[in-house]
């Protein structure tokens, strides 16, 4: 487990090596909760024990630190504690720069860390310049890359629409040369979470995280409504699930006390005892895929839609 030391007004966070597995995510959730809970006026982030810092961890830690900073705390990322590869990665993600350090090198393999509060031109520009501009998905035509970027917007919409997140959405991603590992895009908010919204909507406070998230993942199920107008909602998560499963990728959701992993081999929904203080959507896609799903789904004419 990571160590956190409270030294009067200074709180030290020691980031360990974090990959994308469930166990590491428990550690990450615990770290984020503790960053949010500390009463210290200054937070110092150290990386002495970290040999690898992935995009999903960057996004989660950044959201928690941003909230702390928003509360008036001083956040210092101690770059002297970073091993060279970790420093390089943190610069490439613009994590160091985001918290007051020197500007990054920039990399063709990273989608830089960014905070969004609205679904606006900045978000579209971010996706349309970062994803295709970095030579991810070399097999895709420009038209399909554009279609894929448009689908990515659905990941952010959940954070803006449902979460009431005090920091908006934090986003970060990673691709790999030659497509050895999957492309990864992570979006994090620090909102009320999907289970709480479902419990509130259905009037069932006793629902477990697993039950609530399972309900939310069904097509057409949504906690959104418009007074005076019947609501047609609840498609975003299903669209993302389809994108992941039909392209042999994976969609992971951590939302407070719930967890889901959706992939072609099946859907796992479970309780998440560690309780992440918000929602994480982590989408992984194979970079060598031809995305036949996007190709073939576009054959419907608008007239046939109704």
């Amino acid at each position: 487990m990571p160590t956190l030391h409270s030294q009067k007004a200074v709180y030290q966070v020691d980031i360990p090596t974090l990959y994308s597995n469930l166990q590491d995510f428990r550690i990450l959730a615990s770290l984020c909760r503790q960053i949010l809970a500390t009463k210290a006026t200054e937070i110092v982030v150290r990386f002495d024990q970290c040999t690898f810092f992935k995009a999903n961890a960057v996004a989660c830690i950044s959201a928690a630190l941003a909230y702390a900073r928003q509360q008036g705390k001083v956040v210092t990322v101690d770059i002297s504690s970073m091993a060279p590869p970790v420093y390089r990665a943190c610069c490439n993600y613009k994590f160091v720069q985001h918290f007051g350090g020197p500007s990054g090198f920039g990399s063709q393999n990273t989608i830089e860390l960014r905070q969004f509060r609205l679904a606006n031109e900045d978000l579209v520009d971010y996706l349309f310049t970062q994803v295709p501009g970095h030579q991810f998905f070399p097999h895709l035509s420009p038209a399909l890359r554009r279609a894929l970027c448009k689908r990515f917007i659905e990941i952010y919409v959940n954070a803006f629409t449902h979460s009431r997140s005090p920091v908006g959405a934090y986003s970060c991603g990673q691709g790999y040369p030659f497509g050895i590992f999957p492309f990864q895009l992570t979006v994090v908010d620090l909102g009320v979470g999907i289970p709480a919204k479902v419990r509130e909507f259905l009037g069932q406070p006793q629902m477990s995280g697993r039950q609530a998230l399972h309900w939310a993942l069904q097509e057409g199920h949504s906690t959104k409504f418009l007074p005076g107008v019947s609501g047609a909602y609840g498609l975003g998560l299903k669209l993302l699930s389809d994108l992941a499963t039909l392209n042999r990728g994976r969609l992971e959701i951590y939302s407070h006390d719930s967890y889901a992993c959706i992939q072609q081999s099946g859907v796992l929904v479970d309780n998440f005892a560690e309780d992440f203080p918000g929602t994480v959507l982590n989408l992984e896609l194979r970079q060598d895929d031809n995305f036949y799903y996007l190709t073939t789904e576009g054959v419907v004419s608008p007239k046939d839609s109704f």
């Binding site: 047609a232 909602y233 498609l235 046939d304």
Partner: protein, 112 residues
């Protein structure tokens, strides 16, 4: 012809913007007028916008009538499928009495 890029903008993501389009086209469709929507100009759609703008039309206008009256121009091929998903989703929602009950209950609670 209603050019979406002009009346809404090219970023058509949020339900608020979707509602603006809904408010524009719903009265016309209710009067049985044909509505031509031009989506040229690099319009970017996401599901919350289409749910609010198009999906909600199915609450009180039958799909068959929408098929005759609502005409899309210059829709990108991959957006056709998203539109179909939105419409299929809306049909299912408006046919589900339990879902409608939940919506009604929450609205009543909000109103107090």
């Amino acid at each position: 012809m209603i050019k979406i890029a002009e009346v809404i903008g090219t970023i058509c993501i949020t339900e608020d913007d979707g509602r603006k389009l809904y408010d524009l086209i719903h009265p016309l469709l209710k009067q049985n007028q044909q509505v031509d929507l031009d989506v040229s100009g690099g319009v970017i759609f996401a599901s919350p916008f289409l749910n609010a703008a198009i999906g909600n039309l199915l609450a009180d206008i039958p799909a068959e009538r929408l098929r005759q009256l609502l005409v899309f121009h210059n829709l990108e091929p991959t957006d056709h499928a998203l539109l179909k998903r939105v419409i299929d989703n809306a049909k299912r929602i408006f046919a589900d009495p339990q879902y409608r009950e939940n919506i009604k209950r929450v609205i009543l609670e909000e109103v107090g």
